[in-house]
Symmetry: C2
DNA sequence: ACCTGAACACCGTTCAAGT
DNA sequence: ACCTGAACACCGTTCAAGT
């Protein structure tokens, strides 16, 4: 573990340029372009981040940590509202980078992904809120944390693509489009 | 309008190869590869289908027509069930080619798209079912056909990405994840 | 009227050569 | 220990040259 000063500088430079580029053009922006904008050789980018996912991960770890913390903050609110609010945060947060919902779902399934750990931690935090809501009979017993996250990710994706507010689509799914009276 | 025999043959060849290729690798398969597998110059592919969307459209028009017909068949069933079944058909149909939900939402917004016409027609058919359900108070009044399609497309997308059955995600959204008692 | 493939401007990724 | 950029194998798209 050497920590040479120029290496550290390049690392941080790449991350901050990538943050801009992803926000502008989505998570599939050209890596070559990021290297160019950072004034760094393409090989240097690959040395610091061997895969695109590694770069995404560097930008997302703190975001996921915040969502985990958010779940804990919501723990003292009524279970159904807490779950609804948290899912809204997840979905709207997924909309910051175009292509992000896809990264989340992919990382959740792929144990070798650099994002896997952060995603699993986030899911665990959400699972707590889900379990509480289920204990009180507010959400059907069979629903899994995976299903809930897939729902939020799918609606984040659809919101981005359709121009309809993510919050609106999520509200429809939470209330039910054609709910049976009970 | 000439209709030379070789041109017609090439057209059909490209379409049938594209159907296979899209089913295998999704809607973003290399066009070059399709031309290669069809034994045709890349220029010939571009001559027949000036954009990738034009090629997708050739494959999707009949599918959309079938979905429109399906909506009419369902018209004699109870409104809520009819809508639910139709949305399931839309969502599962969107799963045949990876990347298709994206094409549908894009084409719906882009009036210059070759797919626009077929998408609008399909939406209109769905809008009828939606309106009937709303007249009977089974679906909230403010819900639009666009929102309903975005929901179905988003869950088709999420099902593909998460490995969770589309039908399951859609059922959750139709019943409501955290429905208020009414 | 239609077909062909070279040509151009881009990618992602690797790796020998440099400091 | 790290950086660099040429090199390779691919794209999408256009267009002059052929039949």
């Amino acid at each position: 573990m050497a920590e040479r000063a120029d290496a550290r500088r390049n690392h941080d430079l790449i991350v901050s340029v990538a943050a801009e580029a992803f926000a502008e053009h989505g998570v599939d922006t050209s890596l070559r372009d990021i290297a160019r904008r950072a004034g760094v050789g393409i090989g240097t980018l690959y040395r610091h981040f061997p895969t695109r996912e590694a770069l995404v991960e560097a930008l997302l770890r703190q975001r996921f940590d915040r969502l985990r913390a958010r779940a804990e903050e919501l723990a003292d609110q009524p279970p159904a509202e807490a779950l609804a609010r948290w899912l809204t945060d997840v979905a709207t947060g997924s909309a910051t980078y175009r292509g992000l919902p896809e990264s989340v779902l992919a990382a959740l399934r792929d144990e070798t992904s650099e994002l896997h750990g952060s995603c699993v931690a986030m899911r665990a935090a959400g699972a707590e809120l889900l379990a509480r809501a289920q204990e009180e009979g507010l959400v059907a017993a069979g629903v899994t944390p995976e299903e809930v996250l897939a729902l939020a990710a799918g609606l984040a994706w659809a919101g981005d693509r359709s121009g309809i507010a993510v919050e609106r689509l999520l509200a429809l799914a939470l209330d039910g489009l054609t709910p049976r009276r009970r």
